[in-house]
Symmetry: C2
């Protein structure tokens, strides 16, 4: 089968790979209907994460189940399914508390490389959620978004305790940040400040529910958020980048007693303990437990209440994955969808 | 009047100071009935915080109101009052959200030095809470504890979301840590693990409600907490020290999705962003908004439901403040009470 493999920074190739098979009796193998390129894939593409060996890429997927292991009872061949980047049993104490991405049996699904024609999904019963019937073609981008980027933005907004009466600021205008805006709107936030310097992304942020746009960054961005919130800072701030600057911008934009939800994968971040102590903010985040939210997100998509698929502004066949990475790296695309 | 002044590390003297007066119409001046030495005072005493000029010491106090400014309407001369280390208006948006120690008008009461015969308390109406009648002598240590050390331990337990069904671990066996144990018990925690290597403190921890004692520290302490919690870590961990080691011990002792409440004043702490991200813990803390809890804590003390005053294992007249510092520095006393 064909699959995308990174060989070195900037060097993604679609090549023949071994077709995945059932290894454990709790596995499923799916035929990938759509996959995509994640902002976090760019850490490898840009050489910020080292690439030491050819590595299959991709961890976001929707597909049709082809085969299941002997111990899989809930998921059936032929079902259209959405999964997340971490496989989880969905029964352990950590899963039941809603932290499936820290499941005691978690496995990284992306290790198999979802930007491919087939994908092995471990712990299929705990990881995959099937739609009641095969979705229409136009819903596929949104369902694919639920697999990671929507689930991650949603977790950011939940972790930041976005809700009625709250002012929410979102640091980062990538797909996750934009979908955190959508999530904050769905969660009932009163005011949503999107921090973005790119016109196309600002436009999408407003479409998703942003009430204010702040173009300033760093200390100036913080000052602007404070100016918009009576000098106090936002109640809830979603951090969707993962750098030192963006984390500090998020913390400093939050009022005392407010909540920072951080979902940008942290790279080289060191949080100064004393500043954090006196900031009085709540800090919560990490790899989104997408599985917690999947049933609700799928419902919202199938009922056409939300349209998160709008973040995909480039669709390419799988064999042009290299172009998809390039377009995102150069910020010509917000997010690229790949069709095997 | 007499008051304690630090002149250099290790050099605390009780000397004649100007008697405080009403400066602002929202001030009160109280006659100090009892004050005490805080673990955080030892940062100065040990020279970890620089001492650049003679500085009045102390920020924990109970007393009788002597005089109030023209705009003070709730607090009256003659009342027995308890206040906290930060003065707060108790009416701003931040106060109303329960973060009085980040009040937009906050002032550090300790700047006036509470280890003294008199103390000026700014924003008296928002800061002080009066008892319905003068308390009996035996209740004074507990009411004094409410002023900071109990309120701080309580906030740590609340920030860590201690409650029914939860296993709570407490890092730090100073007075704050011990009272976090008491708080966790009052909040209904199922199991309370006190981390302590000192027999007298272990004994008090058990008296306050600890169900388990862990004597190991650092990675070994973490391993022990995990062993006691089915490999997962505690639901709630209170950090009551403020060092890099204790913060990391607290974070690593917490299960994914669990809560760290940190109230030890951070000194030189740098939190590694990537580890924090993957830990999935909630982090909250800072200078305790003691004022939020004072009415409830005073009720629990006056009804003799709790006896936090037990943390005072040394009582000295004010003019022996130097001995009180020395005893705490040498860990001969958990906490020293001073009587002017």
């Amino acid at each position: 089968m064909l699959g995308a493999v990174i060989h070195a920074p900037g060097d993604v190739r679609v090549e023949e790979r071994d077709t995945p098979k059932i290894i454990h009796p709790t596995d499923a193998v799916i035929r990938t209907v759509a996959a995509c390129v994640c902002g976090s894939d760019l850490w490898d593409y840009r050489g910020i994460n080292p690439v030491t060996a050819p590595t299959p890429m991709g961890h976001e997927y929707v597909g049709v189940v082809e085969e299941v292991g002997d111990q899989v009872t809930l998921i059936k061949p032929g079902q259209f399914v959405i999964g997340s980047f971490f496989a989880s049993d969905n029964t352990c104490e950590i899963c039941r508390a809603g932290y499936q991405s820290s499941c005691v049996h978690r496995e990284y699904v992306g290790a198999g490389g979802a930007q491919a024609e087939r994908l092995r999904v471990p712990l299929a019963d705990g990881t995959l959620v099937a739609t009641p019937e095969p979705p229409t073609e136009d819903l596929i981008p949104s369902l694919l978004a639920a697999s990671d980027v929507l689930g991650t933005g949603w977790f950011g907004a939940v972790a930041a305790e976005a809700g009625p009466g709250r002012t929410v600021a979102v640091v980062g205008d990538g797909a996750v940040g934009l979908l955190a805006v959508l999530a904050a709107r769905q969660l009932g936030a009163e005011r949503i400040i999107a921090m973005s310097r790119h016109e196309d992304r600002q436009k999408l942020a407003v479409e998703f529910g942003a009430t204010d746009i702040v173009t300033e960054r760093g200390d100036e961005g913080v000052a602007k958020v404070k100016e918009l919130t009576g000098g106090l800072g936002a109640h809830s701030v979603v951090e969707a980048v993962g750098t030192q600057e963006s984390m500090m911008q998020a913390i400093r934009s939050t009022r005392p007693g407010g909540h920072v939800g951080y979902v940008g994968v942290a790279h080289g971040v060191q949080l100064p303990g004393e500043e954090l102590f006196y900031s009085h903010v709540h800090l919560h985040g990490g790899p989104a437990p997408v599985r917690r939210f999947l049933p609700q997100l799928i419902d919202l998509i199938l009922s056409r209440t939300i349209d998160p698929g709008k973040v995909f502004d480039l669709t390419l066949p799988l064999d042009q994955a290299a172009d998809a990475y390039k377009a995102m790296d150069e910020r010509r695309a917000i997010k690229a969808l790949l069709r095997p």
